[in-house]
């Protein structure tokens, strides 16, 4: 299948290459980098403007953070409340321990519905469980209806952002994909023409396919309601026209009270798309006879989440409301886009979420895919201290390495272990400085600079020179000065 094609992004953390390896071809793709830089710049500017106009932004952040913390401290109770209220309102709630269970539950429902096709609202959680390829293998074709997801599905591409999944594709590339796959040779790249093409393609799906799959932005425990926000109206179609609706939601998506949406919807729209309010806010509760889907299923997905909940520092990862503000603000993401992260969840939140969802068995390079600049924490509307979690995960990755034999072939590991011995005794540190000056002196040119180093040093000198070590350390100068003063 498409996954074996060269250059096709791999978003499966169990087989994806490490971040530095996956980033390299992207760094060599100027068009993609230009698209990502432009798009993140535009969204960030919009967000910045709308956050600035909100005088109580920091209070809103604190309120959102408190709500999400409270949920995580009482997650089990709120999920059970949601289940009871949703069931009482005519919904059916399923619990899935992992991706395989969730896929099977959804397939069983679709088989019962005798569905051979299904329409979908953008749901990154379905990508997390790799639902589309699974359904396709079972003979069920899943049609994405979000514009960005259509672009990716028709273009045989993968999402690179959780709010704007086709952020790495520009308008003329979209035109080419639509022209090719919709057989519209004369299509222009005007936004209106592209939207019309998508609309024609979609309208037939909405009217003919009676089964839909959605994600959830929030579940409300108090009422058993589900909330989905979107910009295009395709979601509204999927949530109202079909006979049967299946909602897949991570267990962390629950909110205690209906009123909590007041805080969360304000903070989400401004953070995610730089809008005061999302154009479409759909909130529904179970089923209503004669109105909307008559069969409604919610699949609550754990898939590693309760393991994260058990960790003191890492738990805050689950506060995330998937606004992607951290991605747009991240200077690393700005260079690499999302595909380098080898996961449906890229950027700073992906760097902490993905390895944890993999129970630290995969994606160990992701916690290191950050310069720890802190821009993500600054913009996070629910105050997830991403740098703090990154450091916690780095400590776990290092502890894994301590038990492995091949640590002795990792110059970084050896270097840091030796440095620790040196830092424990000043005389050893000073001796090492002396040897370091001799050693680096061999690489220092006449101009006093080092232009090329071996081993890990080569990663430095590939783009940067290094000034040769000065003849005297500071502590050496201080000691001399003290002697002369006497």
């Amino acid at each position: 299948m498409s996954h074996h094609e060269a250059n096709h992004p791999i978003l499966d953390p169990t087989i994806a290459p490490s971040f530095p390896v996956a980033a390299l071809p992207i760094l060599r793709n100027p068009q993609l980098r230009k698209n990502v830089a432009h798009a993140t710049e535009v969204i960030q500017a919009k967000r910045g403007k709308l956050v600035a106009e909100k005088q109580d932004w920091q209070q809103l952040r604190s309120a959102a953070s408190a709500i999400r913390n409270h949920v995580l401290e009482n997650l089990g109770a709120y999920l059970e409340q949601f289940e009871a209220r949703c069931t009482a309102a005519g919904g059916t709630v399923h619990w899935a321990a992992d991706a395989a269970e969730a896929r099977q539950i959804i397939l069983d429902i679709l088989r019962e519905e005798k569905a051979s096709e299904v329409i979908k609202i953008k749901t990154m959680t379905s990508a997390e469980i790799q639902l589309n390829p699974f359904l396709e293998a079972a003979g069920i074709k899943a049609y994405e209806t979000d514009l960005a997801e259509i672009i990716l599905q028709l273009g045989n591409d993968e999402p690179s952002h959780i709010v704007v999944p086709a952020l790495h594709v520009n308008r003329s590339q979209v035109r080419d994909i639509f022209a090719r796959t919709m057989d519209l040779k004369d299509l222009s790249d005007e936004p209106k023409a592209l939207t019309n093409a998508a609309r024609n393609y979609l309208r037939r799906k909405f009217l003919n396919i009676p089964t839909a799959i959605s994600g959830a932005n929030f579940l409300v425990a108090e009422t058993g309601s589900v909330a989905v926000v979107e910009s295009e109206g395709n979601g509204r179609m999927c949530l109202t026209l079909p006979r049967t609706l299946i909602t897949l939601a991570g267990i962390e998506k629950v909110l205690p009270r209906f009123q909590d949406l007041e805080v969360m919807l304000q903070i989400l729209a401004r953070s995610a798309t730089g809008e005061r309010m999302n154009p479409y806010n759909s909130i529904w509760t179970g089923t209503t006879p004669g109105d909307g889907p008559q069969r409604f299923h919610v699949v609550l997905l754990d898939n590693g989440r309760s393991g994260i909940l058990a960790q003191k520092t890492e738990r805050q990862t689950l506060k995330c409301i998937r606004c992607a503000a951290c991605m747009n603000a991240c200077p690393v993401y700005r260079q690499t886009g999302g595909h380098a992260y080898g996961s449906v969840y890229p950027g700073p939140i992906g760097a902490i979420l993905t390895p944890q969802l993999m129970q630290m068995h995969h994606a160990q390079s992701l916690p290191y895919a950050s310069s720890l600049c802190g821009a993500c924490y600054e913009v996070c509307p629910v105050k997830i201290n991403i740098p703090e979690v990154l450091l916690e995960l780095r400590a776990k990755v290092t502890d894994q390495e301590r038990g492995q034999l091949n640590r002795f072939s990792d110059p970084m590991y050896i270097g840091l272990r030796i440095a620790n011995l040196l830092f424990a005794r000043a005389w050893l540190f000073h001796t090492a400085q002396w040897f370091g000056r001799i050693g680096l002196g061999l690489f220092t040119r006449k101009d006093g600079w080092i232009h090329s180093l071996p081993s890990v040093g080569a990663k430095w000198t590939q783009t940067r020179d290094l000034r040769g070590l000065p003849g005297q350390t500071f502590h050496g100068w201080w000691a001399n000065r003290a002697k002369e003063a006497k």
């Binding site: 530095p20 980033a23 390299l24 760094l27 980098r33 200077p331 690393v332 700005r334 260079q335 690499t336 916690p367 290191y368 895919a369 950050s370 310069s371 720890l372 600049c373 802190g374 821009a375 924490y377 600054e378 703090e388 450091l391 780095r394 400590a395 776990k396 990755v397 290092t398 502890d399 970084m412 840091l416 272990r417 440095a419 620790n420 040196l422 830092f423 424990a424 000043a426 540190f429 400085q433 370091g436 600079w449 232009h451 890990v456 040093g457 990663k459 430095w460 590939q462 783009t463 940067r464 020179d465 290094l466 000034r467 070590l469 000065p470 350390t473 500071f474 502590h475 100068w477 201080w478």
Partner: protein
């Protein structure tokens, strides 16, 4: 008891001129410094790379060495951020109550250089002269961890002959990130090239900062690209006078 200079491991080794500048500057302002030769490293490199046990031992060492100091001045915002943001967690995890109390008592007396000048000494005009065009690179730790705000700009504004050249997107990372610069050397370089272009476009003669780590990264790239701009730690600008104290 005296104000103590924690020079940091990499300044001691790679940028002794920054330490000398801090000494000259503070002596000129009437603050004689103490220097403990047993000092080595704050543990940032280890903590940020995941070597927490190793960072522990350096954090302990730091607290034991400076618990009696009147104040500690550190010409590196990322090392101060390490002490302020990461030591509390490390000591909590370590569960050594005596050490934790010693640290809590010491912490309010630990200053980054610009904090020490403005917050502790209450001076903005340090009597410096530096007749050059200068752009200030606000390092991430200075901006988001220490919230240095306009302190460095206020110090620069009072330097005779100095023209500040404003840098766009000041709050964006230069891509250094400690071991990130080699572990993710390609991405780090891509980030650096964006920042470098912005810095070079200011038309400044010098790029200054409160972290020699960022400057090592940016200055190394400037040298590689034959740029005429140079990097210089803010302490060295503030130490410069028309009498011609050393800057290099």
């Amino acid at each position: 008891m005296r104000t103590s200079l924690f020079i940091t491991c990499y300044n001691d080794t790679l940028y002794p001129e920054t330490g000398r500048a801090v000494v000259h500057l503070l002596e000129r302002l009437g603050v004689p410094l103490d220097f403990k030769p047993q000092q080595t490293c704050c543990g940032q490199m280890h903590a940020n790379t995941g070597f927490r046990a190793e960072a522990f031992s350096q954090a302990k060492r730091f607290v034991r060495l400076y618990q009696d100091a009147e104040n500690v001045v550190i010409p590196s915002s990322s090392c101060v951020a390490m002490i302020r943001d990461q030591y509390p967690g490390l000591f909590e995890e370590l569960g050594n109550e005596v050490l934790r109390r010693q640290f809590t008592a010491l912490l309010p007396r630990v200053y980054e250089l610009s904090e020490f000048l403005i917050d502790k000494l209450g001076v903005e005009d340090v009597g410096a002269s530096f007749h050059h065009r200068v752009t200030y690179h606000a390092s991430c730790h200075g901006v988001r961890a220490l919230h240095l705000g306009d302190r460095p700009y206020r110090l620069l504004a009072k330097v005779r002959g100095l023209a500040q050249m404003p840098l766009p997107n000041t709050d964006r990372c230069c891509g250094f990130g400690g071991t990130f610069s080699v572990k993710n050397g390609d991405v780090s370089s891509a980030m650096m090239l964006v920042k470098l272009q912005e810095i070079l476009s200011t038309g400044a003669e010098y790029c200054t900062a409160l972290d020699n780590s960022c400057l090592m990264h940016l200055g190394g790239a400037m040298h590689r690209q034959f740029a005429s701009m140079k990097t210089i730690h803010l302490a060295q600008i503030l130490a410069s006078t028309d009498a011609g104290e050393e800057i290099a």
